[in-house]
């Protein structure tokens, strides 16, 4: 039960990558059967876009300014839904205990969950983007924008998976995740919205690099931090 014991586990007999992919595969297979997570995230995203349309009166001129903001708010909220669900499934069926009993590096479990969550989030984004393009007659297929979205999604999922693993173990569960996560993920949202807006406006790259670098920096820092801290999150 002490914190120290985590460091003294025997060396894992299975390779890091194969155990990580096993977790990813498990998540994908489960999702392929139930389709709960993706469908919930997708319908929710479309509803958010719809609500934005009426709350912001998205006419042609204003749309240029707020498109990136609307998209990111949609992704952030839908992502919270997905993160909560993906960890709650593990907790409910005691799957998490099963995973932890497996003689693998716990960081592999974390990165497996991260990749699974990232795939779900990117799938939802891939469906929402063309629909938004059609509904608002805006061209979103700017390569730079897609790169920004990828970087932002990685940052969002990396910190979100760590915090979701914590929040499912508390009494307040689902309510707690956005409260824990949003202040921590704020740099991602700020930089991603800025870079996305600039890309959509076709601004020069030297304006955009600052935000992109910050996204990359966030991803590196939080991946390293989560790698070190995840052990303590799941320790019993």
């Amino acid at each position: 039960m002490t914190v120290k014991s985590a460091a003294k586990r025997p060396a894992p007999p299975v390779s890091f990558l194969s155990s990580m992919w096993a977790v990813v595969w498990k998540d994908l297979a489960a999702e392929l059967r139930s389709r709960e997570l993706i469908s919930a995230m997708l319908v929710f995203s479309l509803l958010v876009v719809l609500i934005f349309n009426f709350s912001l009166e998205l006419n042609a001129r204003e749309r240029q300014e707020v498109t990136a903001g609307v998209l990111w708010v949609t992704f952030v909220f839908a992502g919270t839904l997905g993160l909560n669900r993906s960890m709650a499934i593990e907790k409910d069926g005691n799957c998490l205990d099963g995973l932890l009993l497996a003689p693998v590096d716990r960081a592999a479990i974390y990165f497996g969950k991260v990749i699974g969550n990232l795939i779900f989030m990117l799938l939802v984004i891939l469906i929402v983007l063309p629909i938004y393009s059609i509904l608002y007659n805006t061209n979103l297929f700017v390569p730079g924008l897609l790169v920004t979205i990828l970087l932002g999604a990685i940052g969002y999922v990396v910190s979100g998976t760590l915090l979701a693993a914590m929040s499912v173990q508390t009494r307040t569960r689902d309510i707690l995740l956005p409260i824990l996560h949003l202040p921590v993920v704020l740099p991602v949202v700020i930089s991603a919205v800025r870079a996305s807006t600039y890309f959509l406006q076709g601004q020069p790259m030297d304006l955009i690099w600052g935000s992109l670098n910050l996204l990359i920096g966030y991803n590196v820092i939080f991946t390293a931090a989560a790698y070190m801290l995840f052990d303590y999150v799941v320790q019993e």
Binding site: V3, V185, S191, V233
Partner: protein, 232 residues
């Protein structure tokens, strides 16, 4: 443990005395700033509170790292104390800043990097308290608290830089200022005396409060253990 330590008593007295002197220095001794007038006097407490709030949070991060490394409960009590003290002083920092900004910037609030970062830091540590509230098992509460204190603190400078890429109007009084800053000024000797005295005063008060809070935490732990002993 039960009796209040002598040193703590002395620190209490020192805190009150220093605070009284600092009020005199700030309101009477320090010269009036030529452009802004009397409202500039809020600056002394504003910076001191911000400084102490930052110390509180840094202390909590340090305690979090120590807890994860050592697994000793005392670090958890200290971390919580650091967060609570940090929260109070950061709030004072934000409110006094707002009072100053109303006449100088002509607005209570602006989305400047420093202002947003201070607010985010406040929210991170409010979330920290909510996280602790949702966990019954004391070991898990301590572990998660430590992790969140660290993760939250990592994101704070990143928030600052992500907004800074825009630009800032917040004055930088110490060190080189930004050309776009509004409401900056140079401190005269009298102002510097008041300023550094306030920093010192608030540091002493913060240490005093931290000590009280840590002591309270240990006592609460003891009560919890006694309760468990009697109920079993």
């Amino acid at each position: 443990m039960n009796a209040k330590p002598k040193a703590l008593m002395a620190l209490d007295v020192a805190s009150w005395a220093l605070l009284a002197v600092s009020v005199y220095l700030v309101l009477v001794y320090a010269p009036m700033e030529a452009v802004m007038g009397n409202v500039q006097r809020v600056f002394y407490y504003h910076v001191a509170a911000g400084w102490v709030g930052m110390i509180g949070f840094l202390f909590a991060v340090f305690a979090g790292i120590m807890y994860l490394a050592r697994g000793d409960r005392k670090w958890d009590v200290m971390g919580l104390a650091g967060v609570e003290v940090g929260l109070i002083f950061s709030l004072i920092n934000i409110v006094t800043g707002s009072i100053w900004a109303r006449p100088i910037w002509n607005t209570w609030w602006t989305w400047d990097p420093r202002l947003v970062t201070a607010t985010i830091m406040e929210l991170v540590y409010v979330a920290y308290l909510m996280l602790r509230q949702g966990i019954d098992d004391p070991d898990r509460r301590a572990r998660f608290g430590a992790i969140y204190a660290i993760v939250g603190f990592l994101s704070v400078p990143l928030s600052f830089f992500s907004i800074r890429i825009w630009r800032t109007i917040h004055p930088v009084v110490i060190g080189s200022g930004d050309a776009g800053a509004q409401g900056g000024f140079d401190m005269t000797a009298g102002m510097q005396v008041a300023f550094f005295f306030c920093l010192f005063t608030f540091t002493v008060i913060a240490v005093d409060l931290l000590w009280h809070r840590v002591r309270l935490g240990f006592l609460a732990d003891k009560v919890e253990q006694l309760k468990l002993k009697f109920s079993s």
